[in-house]
């Protein structure tokens, strides 16, 4: 059982998370990569800038990965998210999960990406080929859980 999570301003590769999961007790590894794509809502994208509330994002990503591992029961989870500029085709997020069983490995990856989308304090500034840019509308704010609420 192991869990790793981090935010980074360096290019992110599948190998970065794959290297941190899997062992001889596991039979299945699932991976998810989110990449910057060319078109969004009809506009041509040149790249993306990810801003984060870094210390909180590190906490939240660690919590999400730990929750995924808890659901997994056995195995390992690694999750990394970019900050800074990501070029077209580059990975903004990389998630890997290893488990003795494939259903659980897929489910863990799904859990992490779905939670990232609603909870991780990260924002993206989409840059278009015409030189304009816009902050992307994101997920509605999560309802604070009692355990998370400040005292």
């Amino acid at each position: 059982m192991s869990v790793h999570s981090w935010l980074t301003d360096r290019p992110l590769e599948a190998a970065d998370v794959l290297a941190r999961v899997g062992g001889h007790e596991d039979g299945a590894v699932a991976l998810f990569l989110g990449t910057v794509r060319r078109s969004n809502a009809g506009r041509e994208v040149a790249g993306m800038r990810y801003d984060a509330y870094l210390p909180m994002a590190e906490r939240v990503l660690a919590a999400i990965a730990a929750e995924a591992l808890e659901r997994l029961g056995e195995g390992s989870v690694a999750a990394a998210h970019r900050v800074g500029e990501v070029q077209l085709g580059g990975a903004s997020v990389a998630i890997a999960a290893a488990s003795p069983h494939r259903e659980e490995a897929f489910a863990a990856c799904r859990y992490v990406i779905e939670e990232i989308k609603v909870r991780l304090p990260v924002w993206k500034l989409e840059r278009y080929t015409d030189g304009t840019q816009a902050w992307l509308g994101g997920a509605p704010p999560p309802a604070p859980e009692p355990a998370e609420a400040a005292s």
Binding site: M56, S92, K117, P121, P141, P144
Partner: protein
């Protein structure tokens, strides 16, 4: 008491800064901090009256009572992944 307001993404652009220190009366809530900030300028008023927020790096409701030195982050809808 004195709290530090952090601003991100679109809110940061509206504020023209990434952080604002506010002096608030004892017993003030996060909602009071937001109201004070929104009253400080025309573009600041475009920050929603009830934004998502975090107090000391954890999501927290608007009615959270603040303490001296708290860090209150106003969070636009998140867009990770």
């Amino acid at each position: 008491m004195r709290v530090n307001i952090l601003l991100f993404a679109h809110y940061r652009e509206l504020a023209g800064t990434d952080a604002v220190a506010l002096e608030l009366p004892d017993g003030a809530t996060a909602a009071d901090a937001v109201a004070r900030l929104r009253a400080a300028g025309a573009t600041l008023a475009r920050i929603p009256a009830a934004p998502a927020l975090a107090v000391n790096e954890a999501y927290a409701p608007l009615e959270t009572a603040l303490a001296d030195g708290d860090e209150v982050a106003l969070l636009p809808p998140v867009a990770g992944g």
